[in-house]
Subunit: 305 residues, 2 copies
């Protein structure tokens, strides 16, 4: 039994109103893997990096017990590189550079030791790559969670819709839900998207929390109001990693557990943004996480008799 | 003992993507009064209308047991008129017309029968008028809630800050909190605003719910996701009316009760937007409200062991 996470492993260079970084380790699989590693022991990554990535950087993952047998190292190529600059509101950003590099020809290979995968997170990647992973698994996982973004709706909508038919949970933001469904109201958007394949839809709203739709129910999760958000990069991936990591931990998929999973995902995302890149996610401990979960409970709790 | 609500009583003409209205009854005091009337019996309004307002329109208020002795009718003037057009996102709108009319010289008079006021809602109005009401009350109310808007921060900031020193709860939206505090983070904005006078700050975030700051705590309330929002006009006022109406009902002001008050306010606001103008708020019953409160409980509830 294991949790498999597919996604980019990258270098990011980030500028925010609070400062800027040189190339630091990033990527959807990195953030999601680190987040999940605090909740579940058997986390296995699928991805690819160039010869420039270096052992030290891979150690960031292995230090958390994450299996990197599925990360292909292509020595004569460079690692995927993204750089961006966040605006003062931290919700919008300009992409300065996107160098696909090794990701351009990424053909995911699944080690035989990964075939015990029960929980699968398809991190934000080209839909065809997400599909290839599904095709190459010998057993259909117990739960498939898919993250994606507006870019793929623009350039690969049909592929994306094909993958959607095979996933259980889709996690996107509110703008993406509107784009995918053509509906402004989240209720109507969810109705349409749940007819496209997934049984559950998560709407990520950043500082406004998240919504979960499924089983005819709706759950609204708060976001923890933070005094300082240093770097939002990877928050969505950390959310997804925490979400599926919690479900792998409890080994039971239903609306009740998914609500808790969203709170865990939100907690991991709230840590992620407190420092640049993966810095904070490298140094967490279980007590900090438990304390933050208590903050979420206090934040949302009310009792009407 | 009574709940006094000060604010505009108006005619609105509204256009949304779902349709448009001729002049319908609106105004902050109207929406807040109607909302509060479902939770508390002794609701008393302070406001002014012109000779054109008509008895039928006043009956909308009296039908709910609302005391209108404090609504001054100026026969030879016209009622405040606002018209606006909402964009497709329903969060932004263009004001087409603002005719202050009778509101231009509004000098609030407090009937002696209103001097038993324990709960006071200063609805969105010129800060000098809000101040006059506070000055003319013989006893300081148990709770003063103030609603305001960015317009008054632009044109009467010093007056607004003077009133703020005398209120217990300020209710504004996130953009207004940023403007008033000069801080982007809601946590930092709240810290600054709570130093300006109020003991509690409510941040209204529309479809994203509301935040309550005070007593060193934070509460995040969800908004009910709705399939259709027909007309957002008056939602903030209905929220404020439901909020203070609940507190007047339970006769106890603390963070715990304020959380519930925010849920009641959110529930009343969620009804308000389902029809044009005050239509829905005129025809509610207690069972519907109780059912909606249950929806809010289900929406926000999670249990982490």
């Amino acid at each position: 039994m294991s949790l498999m996470i597919v996604g980019s492993v990258a270098f990011d260079a980030i500028e925010t109103p609070f400062g800027k970084t040189d190339k630091v380790v990033g990527g959807a699989a990195t953030f999601a893997g680190l987040a999940a590693s605090y909740l579940y022991d058997e986390v296995k990554l699928i991805g690819t990096v160039g010869g420039d990535f270096g052992k030290d950087n891979l150690n960031i993952l292995t230090a958390k017990g994450i299996d990197i047998d599925g990360i292909e190292i292509v020595d004569d190529q460079k690692t995927f590189f993204w750089s961006g600059k966040y605006h003062v509101d931290m919700n919008s950003r300009d992409t300065l550079t996107t160098e696909l590099n090794v990701l351009a020809d990424f053909d995911p290979k699944i080690p035989s030791s990964y075939q015990d995968c029960e929980y699968l997170l398809l991190g934000n990647l080209m839909p065809q790559v997400q599909m290839a992973v599904l095709d190459r698994l010998e057993t259909v996982p117990k739960l498939v969670v898919m993250d994606t973004m507006n870019y793929w709706m623009d350039v690969a909508l049909e592929d994306l819709k094909t993958v959607l038919k095979r996933v259980d949970v889709l996690a996107i933001n509110d703008g993406e839900a509107r784009q995918l469904s053509g509906e402004y109201s989240m209720v109507k958007a969810a109705e349409k998207i749940l007819q496209m394949g997934p049984s559950y839809l998560i709407i990520k709203k950043g500082e406004h929390g998240a919504l979960l739709f499924g089983e005819g129910q709706i759950f609204s999760a708060p976001a923890l109001p933070l005094a300082d958000v240093f770097d939002p990069t990877g928050a969505g991936d950390s959310f997804a990693g925490g979400f599926i990591g919690y479900l792998a931990h409890v080994q039971s998929v239903n609306f009740h557990n998914m609500k808790n999973a969203i709170i865990y995902g939100s907690a991991l995302a709230s840590f992620c943004v407190e420092k640049f890149g993966t810095e904070k996610l490298q140094q967490l401990n279980k007590e900090e996480i438990a304390h933050r979960i208590e903050q979420f409970v206090a934040l949302a709790k009310f009792e009407i008799k």
